[in-house]
């Protein structure tokens, strides 16, 4: 059921004692996520919210609690190191929320991760939500910063580079009584751990995902690469939206990866690739859900 995380997934939080990490660890706990450990060097022995044990290292936290996934809320200067620590501890999944990591740090991280079994989502992403069966989708797994209550448990997979634009799509679905299997934010950086295509392949194999919404933006060629595969292999209906048709060339539009460079990475090219692949293109961000539902 769902991809990457289930309500049973045990999660540790790197940076749990920082303001940002603490706030979202709390929200995840309220949502029903199994937050079983925190990691802050030097603070082992302390308890977060009187119940979650804190450890000095990821390896120790994983060993003691059986955590298999990590949420990273560590500042940009130290985040690459935090990712590699989690990979070294052989976790299944690392979700790095941090925005502002130097690109070359991620170039090194990606190289160092080759051949390792850990999957990295992000950085600069809102994280992952597999909605639960409870009120406001509680009882699910929320890793990151997404508002839990906008979700609903059901069968649509959502994959996106954006945060709030994802919430928009999710809310459009939930408001129409249509729920989600898993929602994955792959993040807005030019070098990241997981691509649109990686997630779509998982959705394609997931028996509980019946339709997909894919949200992209200017910069890079990830959407085109996914579209090419989708055209030949995807068995499920997909709706897509590309943000940034009005962005001026050569400017970084908020996200480090959202830039049209040397004429490449335009919204027009991505939309054309979507259309050629049989992906149903939402012409405005207001009809992402509607576009998918019409196709299903």
């Amino acid at each position: 059921m769902a991809i990457l995380v289930t309500p049973q997934t045990k999660v540790l939080v790197q940076g749990i004692t920082g303001g940002f990490g603490a706030r979202h660890a709390r929200l995840s706990l309220t949502y029903g996520t199994q937050v079983v450990a925190g990691v802050t060097p030097g603070k082992s022995g302390q308890l977060f919210e009187d119940k979650v044990p804190i450890f000095d290292t990821v390896a120790e936290a994983a060993r003691q609690t059986g955590a298999t996934a990590s949420a990273i809320f560590v500042p940009p200067a130290f985040a690459a190191d935090a990712i590699l620590e989690a990979v070294d501890a052989d976790l299944d999944l690392v979700v790095c929320i941090t925005e502002g990591i130097p690109v070359n740090d991620m170039v090194k991280v990606k190289r160092a991760m080759e051949g390792k079994r850990t999957r990295l989502i992000g950085p600069n992403c809102p994280g992952i939500v597999t909605p639960g069966a409870g009120k406001d989708s509680q009882g699910g797994c929320r890793i990151g910063i997404s508002p839990g209550y906008i979700h609903k448990q059901e069968n649509i997979g959502v994959v996106s580079r954006s945060g709030t634009l994802t919430y928009e799509a999710v809310w459009q679905l939930t408001s129409r009584g249509v729920g989600q299997s898993t929602c994955v934010g792959i993040g807005g950086d030019p070098v990241n751990g997981t691509s649109h295509l990686d997630i779509i392949k998982m959705f394609n194999e997931d028996p509980d995902t019946h339709g997909i919404i894919m949200i992209g933006e200017i910069g890079g060629s990830g959407e085109e690469e996914a579209a090419e595969w989708i055209r030949h292999h995807c068995r499920k209906p997909i709706a897509g939206f590309i943000a940034g048709a009005t962005a001026p060339p050569g400017r970084r539009m908020g996200h480090a990866g959202a830039i049209v460079s040397g004429g490449k990475g335009t919204a027009a090219a991505k939309i054309a690739a979507f259309q050629e692949a049989g992906i149903h293109v939402a012409t405005t961000p207001s009809d992402m859900a509607e576009t998918l539902l019409r196709a299903m």
């Binding site: 940002f20 940009p76 200067a77 502002g100 990591i101 130097p102 690109v103 070359n104 991620m106 170039v107 990606k110 190289r111 160092a112 809102p126 910063i145 997404s146 508002p147 906008i150 580079r161 954006s162 945060g163 709030t164 634009l165 994802t166 919430y167 928009e168 809310w171 807005g188 030019p190 070098v191 949200i215 933006e217 200017i218 910069g219 890079g220 060629s221 690469e225 939206f241 943000a243 940034g244 048709a245 009005t246 962005a247 001026p248 400017r251 539009m253 908020g254 480090a256 990866g257 959202a258 460079s261 040397g262 004429g263 990475g265 919204a267 012409t283 405005t284 961000p285 207001s286 009809d287």
Partner: protein
Amino acid sequence: MNLHEYQAKQLLQNHGVPIPAGDVSDTPEGARAVTESLIGQGAALFAVKSQIHAGGRGKGTFKSGFKGGVRICRTADEVYEVAKGMLGNVLVTKQTGAEGRLVRTLLVTVAPKIKKEFYLAVLLDRATSRPVVMASTEGGVDIEEVAARTPEKIFKETIDPAVGFMPYQARKVAAALGLKGELIGQCAKLLIGVYRTWWESDASMLEINPLCVVDNDGKESLLAVDAKLSVDDNALFRHPNIQGMRDLGEEAPLEIEASKHGLNYIKLDGSIACLVNGAGLAMATMDIIQHFGGSPANFLDVGGGATQEQVTAAFKIILQDPAVRAILVNIFGGIMDCSVIANGIVAAARETKMTLPLVVRLEGNNAELGKKILVDSNLALSSAGSMADAAQKVVAAAKP
């Protein structure tokens, strides 16, 4: 962050890359003095180059009518006159837009005897997440045209981050450029210096166009005749020397103002201002405004942790753009609390005595409270439900 040619060349020189002798000046007298010093070193031909963060300088024209942002001169007097024609004037090139850029600094260098011009760049290949060194025998021209017409003339060498740019790779590129004999070794050394400059300054893009084979009294050597470097904004925190190279005169005043408040703002040309939380949603908001026939005046992402003060500052910045005829606030509160946005809008509208049409769409975290704050403020504004509803309302309100 962009650097000027002279700054890029300084960094290259620090890594052993040969550049033409010369110096900067911000006065015609200073330009003359640099030239006299170069004459003392035996030079007979000089390049006077406007320093702006845009290309196409050679073919550009000043608003005063003076032609060319890069000029070749034979004497110190000529340099003085050319410098007078450039400094303090606005240069318009294909890349500056019609408003052009004010030239405040010149780079005066020896103009070498150029025998061949190559193109060289180092950048990130997003498809492989690895750095790539790109070189072409077609230098001095627009590389995008070369890529379109004769892509086989562009050579790429991908760097493995685990080992860096290896000498054998540098020699491969040198050979691909058709270099022979001593020049192969020289070129390989230069390429390694260029790559090190890129990697160690956390550059996003370093372009040397042209990289030249020059004639030095009958002997051939290589020289980086022009250089363009952009540094990854995310890495600036670990490069205080590069932070010191920031030229505020090359940035739009409102964008500078916004960055002081930690806001992500990019000025555009339209009449509908937006204030949004999240870069993707902000881009999508600009897009949907255009879809319904309007034109966005800016990109503005207040981020997830924005305070009331930041929202107020954002509003005031938007209002300083005289082209703005209406404002759209589109907030999907996840981390962001809609009541914070609402309080910020009310404070800003009151402080600025704003009268422009305002459309507000709040969704998510504390949306109901946010809407209540706006209604209770008695501000003249209109509320919207969906993004489409919001865009249509603001486009209608912005019509002159």
